[in-house]
Structure formats: C-alpha cells, structure tokens
C-alpha cells in the first residue's frame, strides 16, 4: 500500500455525526428514560404581573398517580438562579426564583410543580392546581417609564455605558447630524427540539446527575453546584443529541434545578420535557431593543462621532448571561468603521414579558441593523452613494490589528485581521452592482417596487481564555478525543475529528469525539459565541501533535529508524523514503506503549496526551451581505430575488459545514427580518405561543443564497488561523433586507422597525403615498 499524507483540514468531508441521526438512532433527551422515573409538569402563571396570594393543591394531589406537588416554600432553601460568570452585585436582587414567591412577573413563570407517575397524569394534575393571584399593572415596553420591580427596586435594573473621545465636541463641529429612531423586534432561537431535563440521584455514590445538558455543561455544573451546595465532583452533566442550540438551549432555567432537587429529595429519577407552548412562553427570547442613534459627520461623510442610546427589553428577570447583550451592543456597534468619538448608553429594563438572553449573534443582529441604517441615512443626506460612505469610513487592511477602547464580553476590542474593503469589492463585482442599479431603476420606472441593499459587518468569536483536550489512541487504533466542548448540532465532532486526524495522521473515520460529559473531563468551555472551533479545535491540535510525536518516537525505535524519517497517514506509520515499505498501525504503536509492555522503556504509558490552548483576545471574522427584494403592494410581502453572503472565515476546517452554518443562520436571520415576532397584548399576555402564530421560514420563504467564502485573512491569533462561523449567516440579515426594502421604496428612513411583516410593509407604503401626496 502506498501512503501519502493528504490534508484533512480544509476538506468537505461528510460528517461523523450523521449515520445514527439519519437512521433515527439519535438520542435526544426525550428519548432517554430511567427506571422508576417520575414525570414533572410545571404550573405556570397565567398573568403577567401579580401578587401571589395562595396556591391550592389539594384536588391535584388527590389525583391517582400524583406523587408530590411543590410550591416555593418546599424549596425555600434553594436560592434564585445564578449568573454564569458569578456574582454581579447590582443585579443580585433581580434574579429569578426557581418557583415564584410573592410575585409573578410574566405569563409562564413557574409557580408550582407536579411530580407524577405518568406525563399525562402530571399534566392533568397541573390543571387542577388553583392559583390565587391579585393582578397588578404591567410594563410591556422597555421605553415606558420604569416602574417598581419589588419594594425599593426600580425595573431599570442597570444602565450600561461605554464610549471614548470628545462626543460633544464632534457634534458641535459636525457638518451634519443624522438621527434615527429604530426598533428591533423580539424573536429567538426556537430550536426544533424543545428543552428537556432529567435529574438522577445515585445515592450509592452520592452523585447527582443532570441529563439533557447543552451549550455549557461545565460552567453550568459550577453554577448548579453553587446553588445546590454540592461539590462539582458529585454533580455531573450529560449532553445527548441536541436539537438546535442557538444560544438559548442549555442555559440554566428553573426546570433544570427542579429536576435535580426533586431527584435528590424524592429519590427517583425525574424527567421533564417541555411542550412547544411552554417553549414559546418560557425559553429565552431575545433582541428587543429601541435605539435612538445619531451620527455627527464631516462633509465627506466621515463618522466623527456616534451617540447610541438604547432601551434594552430584558423581560421579567435577568438570565444567566446578565448584562452581556447590552454590553455587546455598546462594544460592537461601530463595526468595521473608523469612528472619532462614541458614547453608548443602554437602559437595561425589566418588563412583564418572558425573560431574554442570548440568541445567535446577540448584540450584533441588532447593532448591524442600527449602524447600517445609519450609514444609509448619512449617504442619503450627503448625496453620496451607499458604497462610498462605507468606503470612506472602513478600517483599512494595513491598520490591522486595530484596537479601540471598547470591550465585548469583558475583552478589549481588537480586530485581528481583515480586508473589509477588499471583500466589499468582491461582492460588488459578484453582484455586478452598477449594472444592477440600472436594471432596478428601469424596473422601478415601469412600476415595480424593487431594490437592492447591503450591510457590512464584523463578527466576533473564539473568546477564550483557555480550553483543553485529551487525545488517546487505543490498541485497535481508534482515536478518542476528549473535549469539554459541546455539540448543538453544528458539526462539532466532525470539525474536531478532522483537526485531530489531520495533525496526528489518523484515519478520520476512526476518530471518536467526546463532548458534553463532565464526568469524563474536568474543564470545558462548551459551545457558545462560536468559540468551539477556535478554542477547542486548537487545543485538540496541540494534543494531537503531542500524540504524533510520541507515536513517531516509539515507532522509530521499533522500525529502526529516526522519528524524522517517518510519517503517519490514515493511521499507519511509514518511512517517508519508502512509502511502499513496511508500516506500523497506530494501534500497534499504542500496544507497544501499554503499561506492561517492555517496548515502552522509560516512556510514559499510553499513546495519549493533553493539550491546552490559550488565547488573549477574540478573533474577528467579517463579511457583507447583499439583498435584492421585490415588494408586492397588494399583500405587503417581500420576495427576495437574490441574496449574497460574503464572509472571510480565516481558514475553513470543513467548507461544506461552514456553508451549512451560513445558510442555516441566514434562514434564522430572515425570520427575524420579516416573519418572526413574539407579540404581547397590553396586559402582557403572549400572543405567539404556537407555530401558527410564531412564523418561522419554511422552504417556500427561504431563497437560494450565493455564498462567497474567502480565506483572505487567517487569524494570527491561533495556529490554525481559524475564526468561527456560527453567527456569520444571521448577523446582518435584518440590516441588509432593511436596506434593500428602503431602496425599493426609494425612501431612506422609512424602515424604523424589524420584522418587516406584511402589515408593516403595507403601512410603510401608505405612509409613502401620503408623504408624496398621492391618493392612498
């Protein structure tokens, strides 16, 4: 057999994850059951705000098969839900209790909980629990005057600020000042799998287990241990297949704590599976912000200063992420542009609606929309083209790395690499932009409502600081990669498997990747903020390189060669100068390194190694998106005629998967731009509690997308040069579509709110007609 080393990194290999999933052999949390388990059902508040006067459980408790019913007083020793990054003094009093105590603050808030032998019975019993709630006035808009959260506490839980430079001076001397009032609607990840959790207590070993973890199992273990007063060694989290994460799945919610406490106290496994209505009322929502934004510009359109004031609708309680979205909103808003001075002030306000937290591209989907609307408005005011106003402001390739005195996720902003203008030019060329303008103009002259728009953006990913991995080759040559990462369906196993196989020289199909299991590995950063690829893959690369070195060293002795004469490919060690000659399987090398093997000599037993990767700063991928839309004046529907996504990934481990991430993110972004919105009535009653009311794009609504994937700017901040792909598809979709819609309507400043539902589009058409003095 001839051996040569083929690169595996960079290949569009099919995924390691797929075979069981297409066979229906995946294992999602609802598929898992334990003997003697109880089923949990949560009784939820039917009112958005009220004083909880009493709960009657007698009738429910009498139902056959009901094991126990708890209210807040049954778990009085369990504190409210903690923040992921530890203590945040000023927000502490606002944390959500596991079960409502004296007040209820959103529809769906857990008030009591039923444990029964059967899920149907648990649901029957929950219906029989009677709540006595005195209704209180609600706050449903974050820009309404703040009210009272609890005696002595305002619903304005925090104000976040960031900024630099002389903003006042810049505004005073500006050639022009452009101001907009923009609103981003409330939408969220809405994975197709609802949440679920199973608590299990092994009293023989005194180990408490949470099955159905996701996203950040290790961090959640720390938080849960703190809340439950346990050591992390006796608390373990287990991740199964996860039916979509998108930032919202895998956070700690009241139900996770309830199944754990119940498993401990009732000494039986306790299973909870959310239904869709619950999900749409209770799982984290996101995005809702109103921005009052102004730019001071010079005569050439240069951004002298931006004032960014915004109302952040947090919903009823802070969630585990605390202030992060509001802070990111401040730190990332300037995007790829130079900016002389900047001030951001975010009012972090609690409302009587479902709590909010991070959803794929948090703080970026919002700010891309706001900033790019602002840029279009500047172009309009100064009579410049939308392209030129961006060109004059873009940070240049030669200026990299580019730091500015802002922070995102407590990390100082420093763009690592990029050629923003170069990528813009590539897209303009791909779109044949000038010709496109002409053809759209001609179509508009014939009465069609068509237009094109675009948005530029910067992403951020790979926040460290540190992640580790362990690589082990067994005596059959199977490579196990032990990580503290998490898989939310993004192809984590494949990406990590490719990196390991490439660097070690293993057969990619023989790599098994372990993730989401705290009992196997002590530390892990999980899967959030697109950091899995950057951090975990680089740690795996370090470990794989060590294993390779150890394998070469051992094999060299056995093959009577120098390590430098040997290479490894497809799990075989062979001589570089004699690829047809004798070779040795990695499994055999592992055998030679077993503890009792004489061949091992003084080497440490096992063909395995740990690897750690540390990063000082995040990495900043970038891109742009272009949309061509056509509006139907009769229905207000927006049809997307063409869509281009250009993105510089630095280095793609698996281009097929990157493309998949982009397309999937785009569809979600499209949802937030046109279809998806959590609506509430004036009493705080949620109106979007089924898939009939919360509309997500189907195949019919999702256009084909052209993807221009470049690797022009690998990150200098990690050896693999990678930057992360999870959020690039979604981040500027609202911005690009809004720009295209305004172009179609030939009126800048008309789009003030996302999503652009048919009703809103029709309202804009009407406004336009009255502005232009045409009959409605």
């Amino acid at each position: 057999m001839t051996e040569t080393r083929q690169p595996i990194i960079g290949q569009s290999l099919t995924r390691l994850e797929d075979p069981p999933l297409v066979r229906g052999k995946g294992r999602f949390v609802a598929d898992v059951s334990f003997p003697h388990q109880l089923h949990m059902r949560v009784v939820r508040s039917p009112l958005a705000h009220g004083r909880l006067l009493g709960i009657r459980i007698k009738a429910a408790l009498a139902l056959k098969g009901v094991h126990a019913i708890w209210t807040a007083q049954d778990i009085a020793d369990i504190g409210p839900i903690d923040f992921r990054e530890g203590k945040i003094e000023k927000l502490e009093p606002y944390r959500q209790p596991v079960l409502a105590q004296d007040y209820v603050r959103y529809v769906g808030e857990p008030v009591a909980v039923v444990f029964a032998e059967d899920a149907y019975v648990a649901e029957d019993a929950a219906d029989l629990v009677e709540l006595d709630i005195e209704e209180l006035p609600v706050i449903v808009e974050a820009d309404a005057p703040p009210g009272v959260f609890a005696p002595g506490l305002s619903t304005e839980a925090a104000i976040v600020t960031q900024g630099f430079g002389d903003v006042e001076g810049a505004f005073a001397s500006a050639h022009a000042i452009i101001s907009l009032d923009l609103q981003m609607g409330r939408h969220s990840g809405v994975p197709l799998e609802t949440r679920g959790a199973i608590g299990l207590y092994d009293s023989a070993r005194d180990v408490l287990e949470l099955h159905g973890a996701a996203k950040v199992p290790h961090k959640n273990r720390e938080s849960l241990a703190r809340m439950l007063g346990r050591t992390t060694t006796t608390l373990h989290l287990f991740e199964y297949h996860v039916g979509g994460g998108f930032g919202i799945r895998g956070e700690i919610y009241p139900e996770d704590i309830l199944v754990l406490v119940a498993a401990l106290r009732l000494e039986r496994p306790v299973k909870w599976i959310e239904d869709r209505r619950e999900h749409l009322m209770c799982a984290n929502q996101s995005r809702q912000q109103r921005h009052l934004i102004s730019a001071a510009v010079d005569a050439q359109g240069r951004l002298l200063a931006i004032r960014n004031e915004f109302y952040h609708d947090q919903g009823a309680y802070p969630r585990t992420h605390a202030l992060r979205i509001a802070e990111t909103t401040c730190g990332i808003l300037p995007g790829p542009y130079h900016l002389g001075a900047y001030s951001a002030t975010g009012y972090y306000r609690l409302t009587n609606k479902t709590p909010c937290a991070t959803y794929r591209a948090p703080g970026r989907y919002e700010t891309n929309f706001v900033r790019e609307r602002l840029l279009d408005a500047i172009a309009e005011r100064l009579g410049m083209s939308r392209v030129d106003v961006r060109r004059i402001n873009l940070i240049k390739k030669e200026e990299m790395p580019y730091a500015r005195p802002l922070s995102v996720l407590e990390d100082d902003v420093s763009y690592d690499s990029g050629d923003y203008e170069g990528l813009l030019d590539q897209s303009l060329k791909a779109m044949d932009w000038d010709a496109l303008q002409e053809s759209l103009k001609a179509r508009r002259a014939k009465g069609e409502i068509v237009g094109a728009g675009f948005a530029l953006f910067i992403e951020k990913s790979g926040l460290g600081p540190t992640d580790g991995a362990h690589v082990n080759v067994d005596t059959d040559g199977v490579v196990e990669v032990l990580t503290g990462g998490a898989s939310v369906g993004q192809g984590f196993e494949t990406v990590v498997g490719q990196v390991c196989a490439d660097i070690l020289g293993a057969d990619y199909r023989k790599v098994r990747v372990v993730h989401g299991r705290t009992e196997r590995i002590e530390f892990g950063i999980g899967a959030h903020a697109s950091r899995a690829t950057v951090m975990t893959a680089n740690a795996v690369a370090v470990a794989a390189a060590k294993v390779r070195a150890k394998a070469l060293d051992m094999a060299a002795e056995l093959m009577q060669a120098q390590p430098g004469d040997l290479d490894i490919a497809n799990g075989l060690v062979f001589r570089r100068d004699a690829p047809h000659g004798p070779s040795m399987k990695l499994g055999a090398v592992a055998s030679a390194l077993r503890p009792m093997a004489k061949t091992r000599g003084a080497r440490e037993p096992g063909l395995s190694a740990d690897g750690w990767f540390e990063s000082e700063h995040q990495v900043y991928p970038y891109g742009n998106q272009f949309a061509v839309v056509k509006i139907d004046p009769a229905t207000g529907a927006i049809a997307i005629e063409r869509y281009l996504i250009a993105y510089d990934i630095g280095k793609a481990i698996n281009p097929m998967l990157v493309r998949g991430q982009i397309l999937g993110g785009f569809a979600q972004g499209l949802g937030g731009a046109i279809y998806e919105e959590f609506l509430y009535d004036e009493r705080g009653e949620p109106l979007s509690v089924s898939f009939a009311d919360y509309l997500m794009p189907t195949l019919s609504e999702t256009p084909d997308v052209e993807v221009l994937l470049t690797e022009d700017a690998p990150s200098p901040r990690n050896p693999l040069g990678i930057k992360g792909a999870g959020e690039s598809g979604i981040a500027p979709v609202g911005a690009a579509i809004a720009s295209a819609v305004e172009d179609a309507l030939q009126c800048t400043g008309l789009v003030r709110q996302l999503p652009l539902t048919p009703q809103r589009v029709k309202a804009m058409l009407k406004e336009l007609q009255s502005r232009r003095g045409l009959p409605a």
Binding site: S33, G244, G489
Partner: protein, 160 residues
C-alpha cells in the same frame, strides 16, 4: 384511565398493546414501542418532525390518537435501513449535508419517502411545495431540497 387493546404492525413487527384512548400515536410509538426516531417538535401539527407513514400515507403522528392506528401498517424512520446499508434518501441527506442537529431529519425523510413512493417523477416545484410543510431550524432548507432531488434519482436507480 382505562386502557383499550391496540394492534398494529410497526416497522415489520406486530404489536399487541393496551393504551389509554387519549394517548397520541407518537407517544405510543415512542414510549410504548420504543421507536424514538420519530420526534415531537410542536405536538400541534405544524412542524412535521413527527411525520410517519401509516398504511402508505404520510401522516403527522402527533395529530392521531394511538387507537386510530388499530390494524394499521406503520413505518417510521427506523424502517428505512434496519441496520443494513442506508436508504438512498438517507445517503443523499448525508452527502448533501442536509442535516445539522438532525432533529427534523426523520420527519423530512419520511415525508420525502412517502412523496417519492407515490410519485417518483415529482418535479422540483412540487417538491418545494411539499417539503414546505415541514420545519427545519438549522439548515436553511437548500441542502434538504438538494438531497431530496438527488435521493429521488437514487431511489429510481435502485429500482432499475
């Protein structure tokens, strides 16, 4: 609640059960029969994750009661390859990267199998239309459509 007898054939196996009349077919299949490949994404008939084939017709198993399947022949995703080589559509889904989390996949596979068994020559417009009845939150659909188009060809080839 009293239970009533229920008999059907699921993935080639005869089942002889006693279930409460209010139990949905998806719960019977998943919990009483142990075939957990069929997923519940909404339980109100919109997402299609629970799509299976009953007596040759694709149905949403969350919208049926178990007892309505009395005497039926049922196929779920587990029937497609039964541990052997992948079904042509399963292969096409893998090769076209038509799944990420895989939660919607069994529903899409069974929907497509049902459609193509009935009309192997379905054109793209009809496919688009039919596949729009199921939701996927991860892939953006483009690859699902590609996979079904390619899978249709593979299914025909495997019949020749």
């Amino acid at each position: 609640m009293s239970k009533t007898p229920l008999h059907f054939t699921l993935n080639g196996r005869a089942f002889d059960l006693e279930v409460e009349p209010r139990r949905t077919l998806i719960d019977v299949i998943r919990d009483d029969c142990g075939f957990t490949g069929t997923h519940a994404g909404c339980e109100h008939g919109v997402c299609g994750a629970c799509t299976i084939i009953v007596n040759g017709e694709t149905v949403r198993s969350c919208l049926m009661f178990g007892f309505q399947a009395e005497g039926a022949t049922i196929r779920t995703v587990e029937s497609l390859s039964q541990g052997g080589p992948l079904h042509p559509l399963q292969e096409a889904f893998v090769e076209h990267h038509a799944l990420q989390c895989g939660f919607c996949t069994p529903g899409f596979l069974m929907l497509a199998v049902g459609l193509l068994e009935e009309n192997p020559d379905m054109d793209e417009a009809a496919m688009r239309d039919a596949l729009s009845s199921n939701l996927c939150r991860c892939t953006g659909y483009e690859n699902i459509l590609k996979a079904v188009k390619d899978g249709a060809q593979r299914m025909k080839a495997s019949h020749d």
